[in-house]
Point group: C2
Chain length 250, copies 2
DNA sequence: GAGTGGTCTAGACCACAGC
DNA sequence: CTGTGGTCTAGACCACTCA
């Protein structure tokens, strides 16, 4: 009685994924370019679409990187980006890892308005970017109700980065009381995709954060992290920098 | 001077995604079944593969649920599962939301062994499942070095759930000193897929947790959450139960 | 057995990067 | 320009669920 007689036949693309995945571990180095898709498909004796199904999953797992017009390369290990507990990512804090790009006033989407407790009232909306080694890893919309930045008159700074800095400066004066966070899977919209240098629809990790101060919600951040290159870390006060990626076994 | 003259033509599947997404918001209710793929493709005048590309992304965003042999239905909003800070998810704690399924001894994968600080030495490996409303939302492998459970002899319980309970009981006696966590995107392996009632390769959120006690790593958990149905929450001590899903705008 | 989504094929053309 | 990955087609068959 052989092991697992007559289990379902494994689909081709899944077998391909295993084979290529093992080849990546043993016969390729980070950054190396793979043969092109037509070549690979021919070599494995499958249609290009089938091969692509395998490559897609490997890319989803952060093991491959594909760029139109360029080719498919072996991806480096995911970079860990600190998202959690350390107080340094309070907006406006000295070590805040985000770069402000713009600021304007607008009525937030309903889901955000509910978290803020504001109604249809416009709030400050900051657009920010987070870089790692000069490459963008995330974009963010930071919603700040006027009530959180009392020292700022609505027409204080004309807009753009100047106002963004002013809002952040005021936020930094608040006394942080903690944060709420939610992480879920999403896909990049057109804007985010452009800023993250990915195609629209690429998988992203959506991090919604509620910043608490003075008994209420001081700001809400909706951040979009590249799921292919990022591993979000939630350190126990800076101790957890060393978590290595856990590779899936089938 | 029309707005955005001559920008790139939007791919069909992305336009489809928008159209169907809007229809989901306005003309369908949660749980309702959509027309089948051949019917939809014909209705929109595209090939089935193109339609499927749109459906795939909507499923990735948690807006659709597809089951072979059954059909495509409108998904309910994602369920928030508490993963973070609250001390109640320490393994073996009274309110631990996980259900033990099995226990055995094995040498952990290299990445886990490194976190544990054990070498090639075998550790306890507990298999657990996390349910929400009787549906599985996550599976877990919990690696516990023998040193963390001194009150347990290696052959104490013969294995299975009995030993799992014994290990957890011992773990619960430790004094928690904090946790490290990392979240990344992955795809379900064959085993996980079966337990989560999904197909292999489905997107999952991989949560690697290091439990700290007595100055070292008491255990390492590698948990696999269904990315389609789950939103991981990291509450500020139970305050953040109310975070609503933030829907992507394009 | 009928109907669903999942897999697969063998083509085609398009958009983009880089020379 | 050439070569890459991205999109798209019109079929086919398979695996699964349920009546």
């Amino acid at each position: 009685m052989g092991t697992r007689l007559h289990t379902v036949p494994e689909p081709k693309y899944r077998h391909l994924k295993t084979v290529i995945g093992e080849a990546l571990d043993h016969e390729f180095t980070v950054g190396e370019v793979l043969p092109n898709e037509r070549e690979l498909a021919a070599r494995f004796g499958v249609a290009r679409a089938t091969l692509r199904q395998a490559l897609e999953q490997l890319e989803l797992e952060g093991r491959l990187q594909r760029r139109r017009g360029v080719g498919t390369t072996v991806a480096p290990p995911r970079v860990g980006v600190e998202v959690g507990s350390s107080r340094e990512n309070w907006p406006g804090a000295p070590c805040d890892p985000w770069q402000a790009r713009d600021a304007h006033r607008a009525v937030p989407p309903a889901a955000v308005a509910e978290l803020l407790g504001t109604g249809e009232e416009p709030v400050h909306v900051l657009t920010r970017v987070r870089l790692d080694e000069a490459l963008p890893v995330a974009t963010e919309l930071l919603y700040v109700p006027a009530a959180s930045v009392p020292g700022l008159s609505a027409i204080d700074a004309p807009g753009g980065t100047a106002r963004a800095r002013a809002v952040l400066r005021e936020l930094g004066h608040l006394d942080p009381e903690g944060e709420d966070r939610a992480v879920e899977l999403g896909s990049a919209g057109a804007e985010d995709a452009r800023r993250l240098d990915r195609l629209p629809g690429s998988p992203v990790l959506l991090v919604t954060t509620r910043f608490l101060a003075e008994g209420g919600t001081a700001a809400v951040s909706v951040a979009t992290y590249r799921a292919d290159t990022c591993r979000l870390t939630f350190g126990a006060d800076g101790a957890g920098v060393e978590i290595a990626p856990a590779r899936r076994a089938s």
